[in-house]
Amino acid sequence: MPTTRPNSKPPRQKLGGGWVALILTLACGMCLGGCAERTQPTQFFELSPESSANRAMQTRLFETGAENELLSASAASLQDLGFQIEESVREVGLLRAAKERSAREYGQYRNRFLIWLVSLGHLVIPVDLHQKIAATIVIRPASQDHARQEVRIIFYRVIWKGDGQADRNYIPPGEQKMEMIRDPEIYQQFFAKLSKAVFLEPHSI
């Protein structure tokens, strides 16, 4: 018994294959464009030029000696923003919290439909489905007499993609993508909440 079926329409198949190959090549080219600037391991522990700007965005100083109150107020502010506290270490003033939300966006669905249309139904790109937004807070004394505290919060998110299709190859769901959140407004919002909670005016560094 033959394991493959004789092909009845070879020329048409070939044309379709060519189209798909072209689109795949273009898509790969776009994806790989970001891979060119790959960081070398030796650079990982070097301070990047933008690190001081990030530090300023993520840090506020509070004129208080009550570190524990500041820590519990931070936890409460995160709870107000819908986060769940995952880890806390009082001795070093550490809090880690996360919340999970949908990551579906209208624009991505529109792009998926357009690519599907252009590729004649051969290519269905995966869209973002689910995301986990996480925050890490570290509070530490900023002066010798512990009269001033420095609060630093870092937000980041992990996104999970849905499934897709490239010609006859099924792209399974669950591909992960991570990104640091660098939107100053989110940090301002958090610090506004925190300063209301502790009745103190936050100072920028």
Binding site: R38, F45, I154
Partner: protein
């Protein structure tokens, strides 16, 4: 030679070949002894600071890691343990992890040891650890002020 003898001969040769690997190797004494390479990497990963409060050093390490863009995943103050990770931006597939231990030494000194892994492979380049300790030094200096 009849058939039985042939089968017997083949069986003996096969058994000899198979059993050849079963000779117990001599247990080597130096199996767990530190090699030169291990010593070298350990000294690159460790540094002693003249600060007597290990909590201060630990906070300094955490601040340095945050400056370097790491996400602090776990910390244990009594054990002086910090675990952090970051992904190699802009490439979000590669993950860089680091475990730091802070241990008080005699005469008011504190030792820091860092182990970094890149995509679950240990980093053995001393330059990487030099950069890390430079960042810690900077951050400890800031804490002191």
């Amino acid at each position: 030679m009849n058939r039985r003898q042939v089968i017997g001969a083949v069986g003996i040769v096969t058994a000899a070949l198979v059993l050849h690997g079963c000779v117990a190797p001599e247990p080597r004494q130096e199996l767990f002894a530190p090699t030169d390479a291990q010593m070298k990497i350990r000294s690159a990963q460790s540094r002693t600071f003249e600060v007597n409060d290990s909590t201060v050093v630990m906070r300094g390490v955490i601040a340095a890691l945050q400056d370097l863009g790491f996400i602090i995943e776990r910390a244990n103050a009594p054990l002086g343990l910090v675990t952090a990770a970051r992904f190699a931006e802009p490439n979000y597939y590669d993950v860089l992890g680091v475990t730091v231990t802070v241990r008080p030494q005699e005469a008011g000194k504190t030792m820091i040891r860092a182990n970094a892994i890149y995509n679950s492979k240990p980093i053995e380049d001393p330059k990487v650890y030099q950069n890390f300790f430079a960042a810690v030094e900077r951050s400890l200096f800031l804490v002191k002020d």
